[in-house]
């Protein structure tokens, strides 16, 4: 596919090797591995059958270490770790956990680990984890042991940002979208969905945090533009143009170009009949003006299904000025699923491969940036997360 002007300017080199698609489901983890052409796929799994797996992530720094965020219906949350692409697994010896509360203090318990993020390339053993309820945790030994990020979990305003009793999302309030500025490991963003949520930024490695929600609606609150309380479903930072942020929010699709600190709603240019509500947003790995979303029905009682039962991806190639429907190969009707916030991902090939996992247990892929979709796997459990990872360059 011809490179855009911004893609050429950034000078990124596409990947050419095999791709792994890491699928987190309500009943375990699955791995799909491709050939170099991404035409042939092999499904491996389930790993951890019966576990609720929210996220499976391959460390892009070594392309061998996998972390899995898991829990079962009965047991508490944990993480599993493999250093050989899933052949062998070991449990974290100290999974993410809040510190023991002092007398009279709010006592928080990690219900599940929701989001995993490898650290900055200059910090090869660092990982971050986001949990439900909202907690931020850091590992400095490749995910074997974890400590609370006190600057966030014990921030003077933390109780205001993570109120336990107000408006939790159906599966609990969550901390997600942990983003690390590739220019500076101390510059972090997080997203939170919960009573006092929104996007938050740290410029000092997580010691202090500030809300970053100006311009972003919260139409479920009396003040539609509060300082906090927004519901970012998924926030992305462009890896080659890290001043460019996108978010698929409960109240639309937004973009921010730093150093500006105001979100601009770019989803209003989506077709009115479809709207700009959804969970995931995925960025082109080399072109900061290209992003894909998977809209859902956010009207009246919020069915959260594909609008009209007709699933489609929408792509913008100009930073949100225009959107194009991409549904070739997807069901034309009677498909009432959606794609959750970490359920859509892109590889780094040219053309970019896109992958989405549905709440109905189907994994769909496109080898041509969404122009045509094929189903890679059916009859999986409800898909909670999909991550595409490069196994080679």
């Amino acid at each position: 596919m011809a490179a855009s002007a911004s893609e050429k300017a950034l000078g990124a080199k596409p990947a050419t090797g095999a791709v792994a698609v890491l699928v987190a489901t309500r009943k375990g983890a699955f791995l799909l591995r491709s050939d170099r052409a991404r035409r042939s796929w092999k499904l491996v799994g389930p790993h951890f059958l019966g576990h609720i797996v929210h996220h499976v992530v391959l460390d892009p720094r070594d392309r061998r270490t996998l972390l899995v965020a898991a829990r079962t219906g009965h047991l508490g949350p944990t993480l599993f770790r493999s250093t050989d692409l899933g052949k062998h697994w070991k449990e974290s010896t100290r999974p993410p956990a809040f510190r023991k509360a002092a007398e009279g203090e709010r006592a928080r318990v990690v219900e599940h680990v929701f989001w995993l993020a490898p650290g900055h390339p200059s910090e090869p053993d660092v990982w971050y984890a986001g949990t439900s309820p909202e907690g931020l945790f850091r590992s400095e030994d490749g995910g074997q042991t974890w400590d609370p990020v006190a600057g966030f979990n014990d921030h003077p305003r933390n109780a205001e940002w993570t109120p336990p009793e107000i408006n939790p999302t159906p599966d609990g309030p969550i901390l997600h979208s942990i983003l690390i500025d590739p220019r500076d490991p101390r510059h972090l963003y997080i997203g939170m969905s919960g009573g006092g949520g929104g996007v938050f930024e740290s410029a000092d490695g997580g010691r202090d945090w500030k809300p970053l929600n100006a311009g972003c609606r919260a139409d479920f609150l009396p003040d539609p533009f509060p300082e906090i309380g927004q519901d970012p479903h998924c926030v992305r930072l462009h890896p080659l143009a890290p001043d460019v942020l996108y978010q698929q929010n409960h109240c639309g699709i937004y973009r921010m170009d730093r150093p500006a600190a105001r979100w601009e709603r770019i989803g209003e240019r989506m077709p009115k009949a479809v709207g700009d509500i959804g969970f995931p947003i995925t960025l082109h790995p080399r072109d900061p003006d290209t992003a894909w979303v998977f809209p859902m029905d956010g009207t009246e009682v919020w069915p959260r299904t594909s609008p009209g039962g007709k699933p489609a991806v929408y792509v913008t190639r100009d930073g949100g000025d225009h959107w194009k429907r991409q549904d070739a190969g997807l069901p034309r009707r009677d498909a009432w699923y959606t794609v959750l916030r970490q359920g859509m991902s892109a590889d780094a090939h040219d053309p970019v491969g896109l992958y989405l996992g549905t709440t109905g247990g189907e994994l769909w892929a496109s080898r041509n940036e969404g122009a045509r979709w094929t189903c890679l796997a059916r009859h999986l459990p409800k898909i909670l997360g999909v991550e595409a990872a490069e196994l080679g360059r």
């Binding site: 079962t72 219906g73 009965h74 047991l75 944990t78 449990e91 023991k100």
Partner: protein, 86 residues
């Protein structure tokens, strides 16, 4: 003392459902089990010391609500799972 474990915990014990453990209290017994089977305690007991919502611990067939419970070597401890949905 004898400890009987629910099936979700067998991955920690080499598939053994009945194991031995020591401790003068339930808290000590769980610490001992964690030494023998690393990681098992955190799956049962949260970071604030509470028994997780879908875990049930019985001593001599009486359900315990906390860990501050004296134990004798002849006591029988069962760690069972409650219903947790589909």
């Amino acid at each position: 003392m004898k400890v009987s474990l629910a099936t979700p915990l067998l991955s920690y014990t080499g598939k053994r459902r009945d194991v031995e453990g020591d401790g003068a209290t339930l808290a000590e017994l769980l610490a001992d089990l964690d030494r023998r089977y690393p990681g098992i305690r955190f799956r049962l007991i949260d970071e604030q010391g509470g028994i997780r919502p879908h875990v049930r611990i019985f001593v001599n067939r009486v359900q315990m609500r906390g860990l501050d419970v004296a134990l004798a070597p002849t006591d029988e401890v069962q760690v069972l799972q409650s219903l947790s949905g589909g």
